[in-house]
């Protein structure tokens, strides 16, 4: 994503990357960043936590307006409400490969989605 951010910025569109993986974001040096410390898949907050989601997006917008130093990453004050226990598993390097096999067929969330998309590109 940082590659996309820098390319858009280079071409004249200001960008902000709102991310949950701080080290990956720092390595990519986005023009502006906002970091929410949460398990991957929850960049904008926990499911059904509308107040938290709203606060995170408001924080990101405030960072967008405020950052004047290229490469600054604002750490948002919102916290993952269930605590930091998820980090133990996320940091574990002993497990297997959790990625799906690489395949070029569409991976429908529901089989019925394929019917709804008939005739689409």
């Amino acid at each position: 994503m940082c590659l996309i951010a820098n390319e858009l910025e280079q071409r004249g569109t200001p960008t902000l990357v709102l991310g949950a993986a701080l080290d990956i974001m720092e390595a990519g040096r986005p023009p502006r960043g906002a970091f929410f410390d949460a398990p991957l898949g929850h960049t904008c907050g926990a499911p059904d936590a509308a107040d938290q989601q709203r606060a995170i997006l408001r924080g990101a917008l405030a960072a967008f307006d405020a950052i004047t130093e290229p490469g600054a990453i604002v750490h948002l004050p919102e916290r993952w409400k269930a605590g930091d226990g998820w980090k133990n598993q996320a940091s574990d390097s002993t497990g297997g490969d959790s990625r799906q096999p690489r395949d070029t067929t569409p991976q429908w969330q529901h089989p019925a989605d394929a019917v709804a998309a008939e005739g689409a590109d």
Binding site: G41, A50, L57, D97, A114, A117
Partner: protein, 162 residues
């Protein structure tokens, strides 16, 4: 553990242990690019791109092998029409329960109605992260994103990686 997770170190270590070739993380050596804001967020037409593999009912789902395609999701799409497909499927239970975790259309519509955002560029953009070829990101995905953002006359872009 209060410190942020060191994803690059732990994933590199895992793949090394599994005997895989090292994953080439994107590391930018140059200083970040920079374009100053011409307007505040409250005055801006804001493009939004999420990399969680979101699609809407009626669109084709993403696939798992360097899928560089881009979806335009109408910003008025109701949450029950949003779907996700991503190479790292184990990150999807949250967004599949509540798409706002990664594709926060409901929150963005509220912020637009409140005047916190001038306007959300329509459609909201969606792609799948986890593309292994940086060349294909540069040659296929980025030109499509740039074309959409520029043709929508967006003043700024909010990018949401998974």
């Amino acid at each position: 553990m209060a410190e942020p997770v060191a994803y690059i170190d732990s994933i590199t270590e895992r793949y090394t242990r599994l005997g895989y070739d090292p994953y080439r993380w994107y590391r930018r050596e140059a200083a970040p690019a920079w374009t100053p804001l011409s307007k505040t967020m409250a005055e801006s037409r804001l493009a939004v791109l999420s990399t969680a593999g979101g699609y809407t009912l009626g669109q084709v789902a993403f696939h798992y092998k360097d899928d560089t395609s881009l979806r335009g999701i109408p910003k008025a799409t109701p949450r029950n029409a949003l779907r996700f497909a991503h190479l790292t499927e184990h990150y999807l239970p949250g967004p599949r329960r509540d798409p706002n975790c990664m594709l926060p259309l409901e929150r963005l519509r509220e912020l637009e109605a409140d005047g916190r955002i001038g306007e959300i560029a329509d459609p909201v953009l969606s792609c799948m992260g986890g593309i292994y070829s940086q060349r294909r990101v540069r040659e296929e995905l980025i030109p499509a994103v740039v074309e959409q953002v520029e043709s929508n006359k967006a003043d700024a872009a909010l990018l949401i990686p998974m």
